[in-house]
Each structure stands twice: as C-alpha cells, then as structure tokens.
C-alpha cells in the first residue's frame, strides 16, 4: 500500500513538474535598437530589469548597432529571416517597413488589453505611426529642433535675446550685429540640407506636394523664395559660415567654441552643451510667414512575423508608456518619452541649462512632419545635392528646384 502511494506521489510530481516549467517557460524576445548604445545601455537594462520583474516569463535580449549601420543591418536581418521581434524605427524609415507589411498591427493586442490606454501618448506622435488606418508602432521618444543662442555674445554686442515671434528677418538683423569675422564669430547657423529646407518651405507657406492632388510643388514661388533666403544667409547676408568656412568642424563644436551666436539644432545637444563655458538658452525657431518646427519621433514596432507577438506587445507597451520608463528617461537625459502628461516633464523643465525649456513644448504647436515618399532616401539625397549646388553657385534656386521637381516625379513613378 505504501509503495502504491509513493508511486502515485512520484507520478503526481512528475506530471506537475513539466506543467509548471511549461507554464513558466521563459520566452525570449529580441529588441534591436540604435538609440541605447553606448551612453544609455545602463538605463535600458534598468528598464528591462523592472519589466522582467513584472513579467517573469519574458526575457528581453538587446541587440544594438550604430545609427548609420542600423539601416544596413535591419534589412539584412529581415532578408536573412533573422528579424528581431521588436525594433526601433524613426519616422522616415517607418513608412518603408509599414508599406511592406512587415509590422504587426498593434490594434489586435491593444483591443484585448484592458490595461492599455492610447490617450497617454502625445497625439501627434501616436498618429505619426499609423499607416492606412493601422497602428503599426508605438511612439517611444520625440525631439524638437530649437534656436540655441549664446547669451554672452548677445550681451557683449548689446543685442536683445530672440523672441518667440521672431521672423528670419529679425534673426538676420540680429546676426549681422553679432557677426564679427575678425574674431571668428558668425551670427547664425541653420544647416543647409533636406530637413531644414522642407521646414523653411513650410515656414514660408509652401510645401513639397500639393495636399489635394499630390502633385509636386517643390518649385513653387514660396519654395524658391525659402531656398534663396536659406542660401542667402551665407552668400548675401554673410552671417552664416559656409561648409568651407566651417572646415569640417560640426556646428555643435563651433557653438561650443563660441564661434556661433545662434545655432539651429536639436534638443539632443543639451548634454553636449551642458558644460559650455558661456551661458546659453533656447527659443522657438523663427519663421518666414508662419512658424513651422521639426518634430522627430522614434517608435518601436513588432515584426509581423514574430514568434512571440503577445510578449512583444507587453514589452512595447511598457517601453513606451510605463511611468518607470519615463522616470528613468528624464532622469538620465535619454530623450523625451512621447507622453502627453505634464507630470513626467516637471523634472525635465526644472533642469538647466537651458532655462527656457518650456520653449520645447511650445514649439510642438508648430510641429510638422517630413514629406515622405516610397523612395525617401533618394529624394533626400537629390534635394541635398541640388541645395549644395545652389550654395556653391553652380545653379540658381529656381533651376535647382525645377530639376528637383523633375527628379521627384521620376521617383514617384
């Protein structure tokens, strides 16, 4: 009898053990990122530890690649059948992956998840990652581009600080007072490239494409004027250094060395400028006839072919909306979470420099997204090349944009 009972007990144990291990079988999901390494790997690992404590059956493995090579490696992983479960995407590349059906429609897991509330996200960021009515990514971070200015240089020249309602004419007037070539100081820097160009176009009331019929309007009068003025900062007004004048130094380096009184760049530079040997602040970027500012957002998406969509969903939900994640991000200066909740940003706003951090959120009122087409990188390179030619004096703005129109129409075929 005892042997019988022992046998039964052993059998019971043997049967429960696989059930227990099966139920707790840890699922490993791979998360591929470009923004974590190397400065914020610790922050990411902290978030993962919190997440894994809440979800003991999910294990997150991080894979990283530097920004430029990320866009080489990710397609290769997909082509080789080795796609990660979750990966980071920025807005321009999101469309590429979304349009090829490579991203999981997150509305399915969201619908079945009572704990999920889409309202926590900043609406513009949330909407940016929708494609043909499907939610294909959750916004993880956003950043804006501001006008940075060197207060010491302004004080020394007796120029009053930039105001939120400045136009570029105001900025150029101030820049002329601030430019002191004998001492190697330029008044202004606003990069002459694709992203600045579409923004200046919007600031001048123009656009690359007609919003109604989708025709290419990149050579309209407003666009040509915007380009002429942009290039004019260098060639006519003489307040901005050309690439040759910069000689390979980045605008960030020049600003830090006190060679630029005003610099249009992103809020990601706060960390680099924190130890600047002069006092500086930010302001909403000037406009032409209206304001338009950059809005850069990154999302995390789930690979459509992932073997573990439910676990991946838990991770993307946590990574984009949990309070712990937001706390860690703001505390370590690792980009801003795309959450529409001022309590998360109270700490952010209290950090200095710069003092005027409210301007970051003010500029969101004028935020625009880039014009995106299927052959995005080719369009970016084409516009970039043509803009360069105008700066070098090889073409006029009108000629360049007429050619841009032809080439973009080719790309749209």
């Amino acid at each position: 009898m005892r042997k019988y009972l022992i046998g039964l007990l052993v059998l019971a144990v043997l049967l429960t053990v696989p059930v227990i291990t099966f139920a707790d079988d840890p699922v490993t999901i791979r998360y591929f990122t470009f923004s974590a390494a190397p400065d914020h790997l610790d922050d990411l690992n902290e978030m993962i530890q919190i997440f894994e404590a809440e979800h003991p059956n999910i294990h997150v493995v991080v894979e990283t690649a530097p920004w430029g090579d990320y866009w080489t490696k990710l397609p290769t992983l997909v082509a080789g059948g080795q796609a990660p479960d979750v990966f980071e995407l920025n807005y321009e590349n999101f469309v590429t992956y979304a349009s090829r059906g490579l991203l999981l429609n997150l509305e399915t897991p969201a619908a079945g998840d009572a704990a999920f509330n889409a309202g926590v996200y900043y609406p513009r960021a949330y909407g940016a990652f929708q494609y043909k009515g499907m939610q294909l990514g959750l916004p993880a971070t956003f950043s804006t581009v501001m006008l940075f200015y060197n207060k010491d240089l302004f004080d020394a020249a007796g120029v009053s600080y930039p105001e939120p309602d400045w136009t570029w004419d105001d900025a150029v007037a101030a820049a002329k007072e601030l430019t002191d070539l004998a001492n190697g100081v330029w008044g202004l820097h606003s990069p002459v490239q694709f992203w600045e160009f579409y923004k200046k176009v919007a600031q001048n009331g123009g656009s690359f494409f007609n919003s109604i019929d989708g025709s290419v309007t990149v050579n309209s009068a407003q666009c040509v004027e915007a380009l002429e003025k942009m290039v004019g900062f260098i060639t006519e007004d003489g307040v901005m250094p050309s690439a040759s004048d910069m000689g390979g130094m980045s605008d960030g380096d020049m600003f830090l060395s006190g060679q630029l009184a005003m610099n249009v760049t992103g809020i990601w530079m706060f960390a680099a400028f924190a130890d600047a040997p002069f006092s500086w602040d930010i302001q909403v970027e000037p406009g032409f006839t209206e304001h338009a500012t950059h809005f850069f957002a990154n999302a995390v998406s789930v690979f459509a072919g992932s073997q573990h969509p439910e676990e991946a969903w838990e991770w993307v939900k946590f990574f984009t909306s949990s309070p712990e994640m937001a706390r860690i991000r703001v505390a370590s200066g690792w980009e801003l979470p795309a959450l529409d909740n001022p309590t998360y940003f109270a700490d952010y706003l209290n950090l200095t420099p710069p003092d005027n951090r409210e301007a970051v959120f003010e500029s969101l009122n004028y935020a625009i997204v880039p014009p995106v087409i299927e052959r995005q990188n080719e369009m970016q390179d084409t516009i970039g090349l043509l803009i360069e030619r105008v700066v070098l004096g090889q073409m006029t703005a009108q000629e360049a944009l007429d050619q841009a129109k032809t080439e973009i129409e080719e790309l749209l075929k």
Partner: protein, 293 residues
C-alpha cells in the same frame, strides 16, 4: 619525377587546391553568383525579388550618376596608382639600406596602414582645412592662396587622392621590402665587382628581379582602387555636390540606402567587367616585362 604524370598529378593538384578552392566557392563563389542573378532582379531586401531582365543594365547605361561616378573613379585611379607604386618602391629601396633604427622607420610607415580611416580622415581634414590647415598654411608661406580642398568640387578628389597615397604607401612598401629581401645579394656583389653604378644596379638587377612583386602590386592596387570607397565615404560622403562620387559609393547607396539591391548588384557587375578587362590586359602584358626565375 614523382607527381608529373596524369592522374597522379591530378591528385596532387586536388590536394593542394581543394582547401582554398572549396572555401572560396562556398563563401565567395556562391554570393558572387547570387549577386549576378540579383542583377537581373529588383530587390529591396524586405519583399521578394522581382525579375526585370536587363532593366537594371539599361538604367545604368542611361544614368548620369553612373557615368559621373565612373569618371570620378578613373580620375582617382590615374591620380593614385602611378604615384603610390612609385613612391612605395622608392621608400622600400630607402628602407632596405642598412640604416640604424630601421625597425622604427618600418613601423612608422606601417602605422597609417593599420590606422582606421576614421582617425586618418579626421587628421587630414585638419591638414586640408581651408582656414587654418597645415597645407594652406605652408602654401601661404610660399605666397600661394590655397583652395578649399575638401569643400571645393575641383579640389576634393585631389585631396582624397593625396590622403589615400599617404595611407597606402606602407602597404606596398612592406610588399616591396619582402621582394627586395628575396633578391640574392650575390647578384649585387657580382655587379659591384664589375663596377656598375648604383643606378645601373637598380635598373638591371633590382627592377627585373622585383618585377613579379611589382606586377602583383599593380594588379592588386588596380583592383582595389577601382573599388575605392572608405576614404570617400568618410572624408567627403561623395561630395561636395557629388564631385567625389565613385562607383562603389553608388553601389553602397543603392544597396543599403535606397533599398535597390538588384540595381546595386548590376552596378557591381558592370564594375567587374571594367576591372576584369583591365586586369586581363595587365596579365597578357606581363610577358613583356615581368621576369620570373
């Protein structure tokens, strides 16, 4: 003699060739054939490939960007190859003299070769800096106003060429040094006894006996310079205004930035035809000037 008859020889050939050949076929041959097949397709890596026949090649023939890149590549080769070979040869002969501290000199010349392009490009960007770079400073002392180098479409390629020559000298010097060491001293001794001048010794002994190495250096350098990429990518990104856009830069842009792997593969095969053609001519021509033992 053992190993000279038919089947026996075949076995020996197999033994010696098989390790290298099998690996080469698998890890290079297969990808190369794949890229040939891909050149007749459109493939963005993310969706299945689509057959387009000669479409890519037709696009290449009519592409202004391709012809410009081809021109820039040839410009690079013509400006780079003769100088890097000649200078490296001179340096190798120089370092072959019994100088004291030759270990230091050899290490010094090899340092640029092992340095990553990131660091080399940074340094040379300073040297070429239009305002306070070393080169324009030196030119200024001679009363010449230097150009904007990397920022001037006319001078960017010469700047890239100069940097490339500087970096690669050590590579070829090492090669030539090994070749020089291979020449039996007995020839030089005999020539010295006959009273030949050092210049004559160079032409009559050194060059001919070094010719297999020189041939190697020319062929390899040509194959490599047709595929010039890293320095252009890092120093100028193909600019300014596309002035330094070369073939492999176009290939990489198309393959990874524009997601046009099929088109990029087609470009690679057009490049291959050029390289193969030139190399073939070189090999045929070697009978005229290369002396083997």
């Amino acid at each position: 003699m053992v190993g000279t008859k038919g089947f026996h020889k075949f076995l020996w050939v197999c033994l010696f060739l098989l390790p290298s050949l099998s690996g080469l076929l698998l890890f290079t041959g297969f990808p190369v054939i794949s890229s040939l097949i891909l050149s007749f397709h459109k493939w963005d890596l993310l969706s299945p490939a689509r057959f387009v026949g000669l479409g890519n090649f037709r696009e290449i023939a009519g592409s202004q960007q391709f012809w410009a890149a081809l021109g820039h590549t040839i410009y690079f080769i013509v400006g780079y190859l003769p100088f890097v070979v000649a200078i490296s040869l001179a340096v190798a002969v120089l370092l072959n003299q019994k100088l004291r501290g030759e270990v230091f000199y050899r290490a010094a010349f090899f340092t640029p070769v092992v340095s990553a392009w990131v660091a080399v490009a940074l340094l040379w960007r300073w040297i070429f800096n239009p305002r306070f770079g070393l080169l324009n400073y030196a030119l200024g002392l001679a009363g010449i106003s230097g150009p904007s180098w990397l920022f001037d479409p006319a001078w960017a390629m010469p700047a890239v060429i100069i940097t490339s020559i500087w970096k690669d000298i050590g590579f070829l010097t090492v090669m030539f040094l090994a070749g020089l060491q291979n020449i039996p001293t007995v020839y030089y001794e005999a020539a010295a006894i006959d009273g030949a001048s050092s210049w004559r010794r160079f032409w009559q002994i050194t060059l001919p006996l070094l010719s297999p190495t020189i041939f190697f250096a020319l062929v390899i350098s040509l194959i490599n310079s047709f595929q010039v990429f890293d320095q252009v990518w890092i120093m100028t990104g193909g600019g300014p205004a596309g002035a330094t856009s070369v073939l492999v830069e176009r290939i990489v842009k198309n393959a990874f930035s524009y997601s046009r792997m099929g088109y990029a593969s087609a470009l690679s095969w057009v490049l291959f035809l050029f390289i193969f053609g030139v190399t073939f001519v070189q090999i045929r021509a070697q009978k005229r000037w290369v002396t083997y033992e």
